[in-house]
């Protein structure tokens, strides 16, 4: 569960490691040492992504083992998954565009693209719900076959992580409105790390569920 995602968003400058002007030395921190080797928040997020990856490694290695059983019937992906995937990837692209706008001091352009990122993310969530309904309409439920169990379970857990991301994004959108996302402070960089992770994770899950 991406609980740390709900924590206050980053304030450090990834470039120099020094706190942005006007803020006292935050959190813990050796205040008598020089520049940090890397930004702690970014590092903490990466450690979390490592742990989250292990969660999906656990699930998917279980899947690999379980599919060897004779009762496994391959699942046909509902067509809407293609649209969902495109929405999620487009959302990642938008986010990158937003970061580029931010670096160019185009705050209005940044805001528009952050909004688009969120909208596409919500679209993905809605699309996933449609995918589940499409399967259910075919009479394929959670317990119909191990392949459908894994599909519902994995897409569900992925969605939980994505919901955490959307909550974080909501904070960022608010901050973008209030202009507290400062160019150079890389306020979007951390979120981008998480959001692209979710995109890549989704592609990996698609491959494991439907391709191999």
């Amino acid at each position: 569960m991406p609980l740390e995602v709900l924590e206050a968003p980053p304030v450090r400058d990834a470039g120099t490691g020094s706190p942005p002007p006007g803020r006292e030395a935050p959190r813990g921190g050796g205040d008598s040492r020089g520049p940090l080797p890397f930004d702690p928040t970014r590092f903490g997020l990466m450690a979390f992504l490592g742990s989250a990856s292990m969660l999906f490694v656990g699930f998917t290695s279980a899947l690999m083992l379980r599919r060897l059983s004779p009762d496994w019937q391959p699942l046909r992906p509902p067509g809407v998954l293609l649209l969902n995937t495109l929405a999620l990837l487009a959302s990642s692209v938008c986010l990158e565009a937003a970061r580029r706008r931010l670096r160019a001091w185009d705050l209005a352009g940044m805001r528009a693209r952050v909004d688009a990122t969120g909208a596409l993310g919500v679209l993905f969530v809605v699309g996933q719900a449609f995918a589940w309904r499409a399967l259910a309409a075919q009479g394929i439920y959670l317990s119909t076959n191990p392949s459908s169990s894994f599909f519902y379970l994995l897409s569900g857990i992925h969605l939980v992580h994505l919901a955490g991301g959307l909550a974080w994004l909501a904070v960022l959108v608010t901050r973008a409105r209030r202009m507290t996302v400062v160019p150079g402070a890389d306020g979007l960089g951390l979120f981008a790390l998480y959001w692209h992770f979710l995109g890549a994770l989704w592609l990996y899950l698609l491959v494991v569920l439907f391709v191999i």
Binding site: A25, G28, S32, G44, G58, S69
Partner: protein
């Protein structure tokens, strides 16, 4: 710049929240959170300890009636005789609570939180809010686990390993009704909390060390905490995955773990094709690193305590670090030694046996290094040192029986017998528990600003040490004789009847062991409020945490955080004024002398 920093630190100290609820309940201060974790773990230990006493009571006199107890625990007893399903709940919950909620929590979440910023020279953990959230996720986990005794047919009873189908089919055992669901939910809370803690640990240790404190100048305790956090972050998700799949099998009709073609009390089971072995792989992929999550901190405490009380630098510091890294790394590839007789491919069994034999090497290196540290030392035997010596003793006894069990063929006989129970209680539970007691006596000044009573501490050690060995060492013998684990009544078997006097001896020892913990609780609470006030560095130790007042203020150092110039083990340095040199002392002796560079 220096002036500005001092100013910032003072500001930090002044910013400590004043209201009781923010200061002591929903605190973000790592020391308060550490103590919260520690005290919660001790209360959980009390519960799990009582469960153990009931287990031993039943094993000592399986055919006796206990009308008094039956009245108190009316759900678990019928006419003064313990019910077998209650017995299964006892050992399941004893294991679960002890492994996760006591021995993972007290050394890691408890002392990790207290010590990491102090020994790394940081004002707090990297993410203090996350740290507080971690505790407040842990606590509901504890409540859910304890509450499971009072729901429906009682707590989970499928063993702490919760092997399906026993844990997946509601009719398989009464505890697999709602109790097992509570177990899963409680574990998910625990894992979420442990993950948040682990993120804090790795980030703080890697990012927030004070100036001059390179990784190789860190105390071994911190190295252990670092490895433990990495192990936890990488291995616990496997159990999360397994637990969620088990939950789905139990409540939503999926078949991840339950195969087809089963009948339970004459009823056909509606599952198809699942694999119980899959759960075992997922469980032990966590389960074995988990063993080292319990043990590594104790090994770290022991190294630090031995150095300080033998007044010698720890011998083979680099190989100590290397051994811990090797143990941590190998712990990911030995999980299959819990499954030699499970029907797993014998070729896999070979690979797991090979890695298991290999893991004995770094473990032995640690013992030799401790012995070499004690050689030509000057031992001051205060309470912490006794516990540290106890850890070495238990690590030897418990480690050697691992060689018996790690060889796949002899394990056919020993698997699931009391030999295994003896092995892991000595090495995993015992070493971790003794390590925690040692650390408590050692770092009590930094927790409460007072000293623990040394006389009571020694009394507690002697009762515990002797009773511990009397309880768990004889289990080797009955295990060799074939005494199975988790059986409610050994009198059922002819070949076990002759072992009953040993079972009774073990039970009496266990009661002494349980009763002697009263000394600890009295000492702990009395000393926390009434103990002798502690000075900054009561043990004349060299580590960074001894350069700040006891207890350290909010922000840990009243002024600037000191710079570190050496490792924390410069004891009895030739040419130094005192028999120890603080880590912050730039004098060119010991590790900083020309002879060493």
């Amino acid at each position: 710049m220096a002036h500005a920093e001092t100013h910032a630190a003072e500001a930090h100290a002044a910013h400590a929240p004043q209201a009781f609820i923010w200061r002591y309940v929903f605190s973000k201060d790592h020391k308060v959170i550490g103590v919260q974790y520690y005290v919660t773990a001790m209360l959980m230990a009390l519960i799990a300890g009582v469960l153990a006493m009931l287990i031993r009571l039943q094993l000592g006199w399986p055919e006796k009636t206990w009308p008094g107890l039956g009245n108190v625990l009316s759900k678990g007893f019928t006419d003064g005789v313990m019910n077998p399903e209650f017995y299964a709940m006892l050992f399941t919950m004893h294991g679960t609570i002890m492994v996760f909620f006591v021995l993972s929590t007290a050394p890691v979440s408890g002392f990790g939180n207290i010590l990491i910023p102090l020994q790394c020279g940081a004002r707090d953990m990297a993410f203090p809010f996350l740290n507080g959230l971690s505790f407040w996720t842990f606590l509901p986990g504890c409540v859910i686990i304890v509450a499971s005794f009072f729901v429906g047919a009682g707590a989970a009873a499928g063993g702490w390993t919760s092997y399906p189908p026993l844990s997946a089919l509601r009719g398989a055992i009464p505890g697999s009704e709602m109790g097992q669901t509570f177990w899963i939910v409680g574990m998910v809370f625990f894992i979420a909390s442990f993950t948040m803690g682990g993120l804090n640990f790795v980030t703080t240790i890697l990012n927030l060390r004070t100036k001059g404190l390179s990784m190789m100048r860190l105390p071994l305790t911190i190295w252990a905490m670092f490895l433990v956090a990495v192990l936890g972050l990488l291995s616990f998700p496997a159990l999360t995955a397994g637990a969620l799949m088990l939950l789905f099998d139990r409540h939503f009709g999926t078949s991840f773990f339950v195969p087809g073609g089963l009948t339970l009390s004459g009823q056909v089971v509606e599952h198809q094709g699942g694999s119980p072995l899959l759960w075992q792989h997922l469980f032990w992929f966590l389960g074995h690193p988990e063993v080292y999550i319990l043990m590594l901190p104790a090994l770290g405490f022991t190294s630090d305590i031995i150095a300080a009380f033998a007044r010698r630098p720890i011998f083979g510091h680099k190989s100590m670090v290397g051994a811990m890294i090797a143990i941590g790394g190998l712990s990911f590839v030995v999980w299959g030694h819990h499954m030699f007789v499970s029907g797993m491919s014998p070729y896999l069994g070979m690979a797991f046996a090979a890695f298991t034999m290999l893991i004995a090497v770094p473990s032995a290196v640690k013992v030799f290094n401790w012995l070499a540290t004690l050689w030509r030392s000057r031992i001051i035997t205060k309470t912490p040192m006794l516990w540290a010596l106890g850890v070495v003793s238990l690590f030897i006894s418990g480690g050697l029986s691992g060689i018996w069990l790690g060889q796949s063929a002899p394990d056919i006989h020993f698997h699931d017998t009391y030999f295994v129970v003896a092995h892991f209680h000595l090495i995993m539970a015992g070493a971790a528990l003794f390590g925690v007691f040692g650390a408590t006596a050692m770092w009590f000044p930094k927790m409460f600003g007072r000293m623990m009573n040394d006389g009571l501490g020694k009394l507690h050690f002697w009762f515990t040490f002797i009773a511990y060995y009397c309880t768990f060492f004889p289990m080797h013998y009955i295990g060799i004789a074939g005494h199975m684990r988790r059986i409610y009544d050994p009198y059922q078997y002819e070949f076990l009847k002759g072992l009953q006097p040993i079972n009774q001896f073990i039970t009496i020892s266990a009661f002494v062991l349980g009763a002697s913990q009263v000394i600890f609780f009295v000492n702990f609470f009395w000393s926390a409020f009434k103990g002798e006030k502690a000075s900054e560095n009561p043990w004349h130790a060299g580590g960074l945490e001894w350069t700040t007042p006891s207890p350290p203020p909010h922000g840990n150092w009243p002024g600037e955080i000191p710079e570190v110039h050496r490792w924390p083990y410069d004891y009895s340095v030739p040419g130094a004024e005192k028999d120890y040199v603080m880590q912050t002392d730039p004098t060119p002796v010991g590790q900083l002398s020309k002879a060493h560079s």
